[in-house]
């Protein structure tokens, strides 16, 4: 099993989740994060001054998948989260040793 962590733009959240579901992913966990990278933050006004915020709001999707689903999931994300502009984000893949469903205690791919 693998753990996929995708950092994407907030406005792509909805389509990306839809794409993942369409690809057969049944569960995922989402959180709000702040991104620092090539993309620069917005220009904001504050009483006679203009400044650039140094972070960009991003959405992080955490996804535990069976090995054979990795490519499908990655493709779903790439196909939906991409806008082609700087800051589209990253996908990270980590090894996942075990997954357990709390309710039933099931382990491994069945737990996902």
């Amino acid at each position: 099993m693998k753990k996929i962590e995708a950092i994407i733009k907030p406005h792509q959240q909805e389509v990306t989740i839809d794409a993942l579901k369409a690809a057969g992913i049944q569960g995922m966990t989402v959180s709000e994060v702040k991104g620092f990278g090539r993309q620069k933050g917005q220009t904001e006004l504050y009483r006679g001054a203009e400044y650039q915020v140094d972070f960009v709001p991003k959405i992080r999707i955490d996804l535990a998948v069976d090995d054979d689903m990795v490519d499908k999931a990655v493709e779903a994300i790439l196909g939906s989260a991409r806008t082609g502009k700087i800051g589209d984000g990253k996908i990270f893949i980590l090894p996942l040793e075990e997954a357990i469903r709390v309710r039933t205690g099931e382990r491994g791919p069945e737990a996902l």
Partner: protein
């Protein structure tokens, strides 16, 4: 007589001008109702100001910022009843200070009148001004000044700066009143004095850690906007209440106040649009306050039509005013000098320029009034600056006025009050 203003001047004027049913020494229910309402409105400006300020600080300082307004509501309201009112309005007709003859408001009863309203109402109304003025100063020192030091500071400041200044301008025999300086509702007493005192305080207090390096982003602008709305609302009491009667002068002050506030809002947004391409919500909140400050000294003398340029220019001037701190590098955190100091000064001068009702001004050919206004501004500013500087220096030497670096980093909510603003 027609040059003088302040309580007695205005009172006389309004009685003469309108020949209404109100005569001195007879209670008018309408006037009493209006000045009580106005007093309540000015009190509401305190929570309004607290929101206005607190929305602009970082969330770790939201409560401590709010508390600086609330402690004025607590401490100064008592000081005023105990001796503040007496210092400002008591005594004989001394030019510099009132007396100690009405300590604890002794000798006043529900039957005592001041003009057509019970004296208790006059005391309440004036007390609200005494409460809000030090609260205005807090905007400059938030996010780093110790709460205990601020509490002691405001008592000293009310006693040594506000009460005397108030007497100069509005008290019987006060020298600025005698000179003919016009200050309908507190441009000098409230706004200039708080603005320059703020500057004096921060010169001693120093900058916030990270000033001009980090970004101090307002944590909740909806709070600031609501605050500005409450301030606008309360300012009707502040200005139109200052006629101390429900009459034509109050009516004009009411409408001129609304108009100047609107014009300040528009002025600030236009200059932002020109400079940055976008008008901001904080700009709207700031602009209306700038307009309100500027119309304060002249609200009862300036027509609604003239209130448009007065407010509009205030919006533009105060916008420039808040930019100064970035140039000169002093940390007037929420722009007390930039908005109240500059707006109040502009308003006092503008009164000498375009006032046409019940007084002369430049446009009616009365250049003398303009000079008197300038003298009023300079006298009040110099006095407030010097005395505040001394108070703060002494306080700093004796108990220390600044929170420790660790406390500042942690946030003053936790370090001064043992609380956090939000646990959403």
């Amino acid at each position: 007589m027609n040059r003088k203003t302040g309580f007695f001047g205005i009172l006389a004027m309004s009685i003469l001008a309108l020949a209404g049913p109100a005569f001195a020494d007879e209670l008018s229910g309408g006037d009493t109702a209006w000045v009580m309402t106005s007093s309540a409105l000015v009190l509401l400006m305190l929570p309004g100001l607290a929101l206005f300020y607190a929305g602009m600080v970082r969330s770790k300082n939201v409560l401590s910022t709010t508390m600086m307004s609330f402690i004025c509501m607590g401490v100064i309201a008592i000081q005023w009843v105990v001796y503040g009112y007496s210092l400002a309005f008591g005594g004989g007709a001394h030019p510099l200070i009132g007396g100690l003859d009405t300590l604890m408001l002794s000798s006043i009863s529900p039957e005592t009148l001041s003009g057509s309203i019970p004296t208790y109402v006059f005391i309440a109304f004036q007390g609200m001004f005494a409460i809000i003025t030090p609260a205005l100063i807090s905007g400059a020192v938030v996010e780093r000044m110790k709460f205990s030091a601020f509490t002691i500071f405001i008592i000293l400041w009310a006693t040594l700066v506000y009460d005397p200044l108030c007497h100069w301008v509005w008290g019987e025999g006060g020298w600025l009143l005698e000179l003919g300086a016009l200050d309908f509702a507190g441009g000098t007493v409230v706004h200039i004095s708080s603005g320059v005192s703020a500057l004096a305080a921060i010169l001693v207090l120093g900058k916030r850690r990270g000033f001009l390096k980090e970004q101090f982003v307002p944590h909740n602008l909806t709070m600031t906007l609501l605050g500005s709305g409450l301030l606008w609302f309360g300012w009707f009491g502040f200005n139109a209440g200052s006629s101390l009667a429900a009459n034509g002068t109050a009516a004009m002050a009411f409408l001129s106040t609304n108009t100047a506030s609107a014009a300040g809002l528009v002025g600030w947004l236009i200059i932002e649009k020109i400079k940055f391409g976008k008008p901001s919500a904080l700009g709207a909140a700031s602009g209306c306050v700038a307009g309100l400050v500027a119309i304060t000294p002249g609200a009862g003398f300036i027509t609604p039509a003239w209130a448009i340029p007065v407010g509009f220019i205030a919006g533009i001037l105060c916008f420039q005013g808040v930019c100064l701190k970035n140039k000169f590098g002093y940390d007037d955190s929420l722009d007390v000098l930039g908005v109240h100091g500059i707006g109040g000064t502009w308003g006092a001068i503008a009164t000498g320029l375009v006032a046409t009702v019940g007084t002369g001004s430049l446009i009616t050919g009365d250049i003398h009034q303009l000079w008197v206004q300038v003298i009023g501004v300079l006298a009040a500013a110099t006095y407030a600056f010097v005395v505040t500087f001394i108070i703060i220096k002494v306080l700093d030497a004796v108990i220390g006025i600044r929170a420790s670096e660790a406390e500042e980093i942690e946030g003053l909510d936790q370090s001064q009050h043992g609380e956090v603003g939000y646990s959403l």
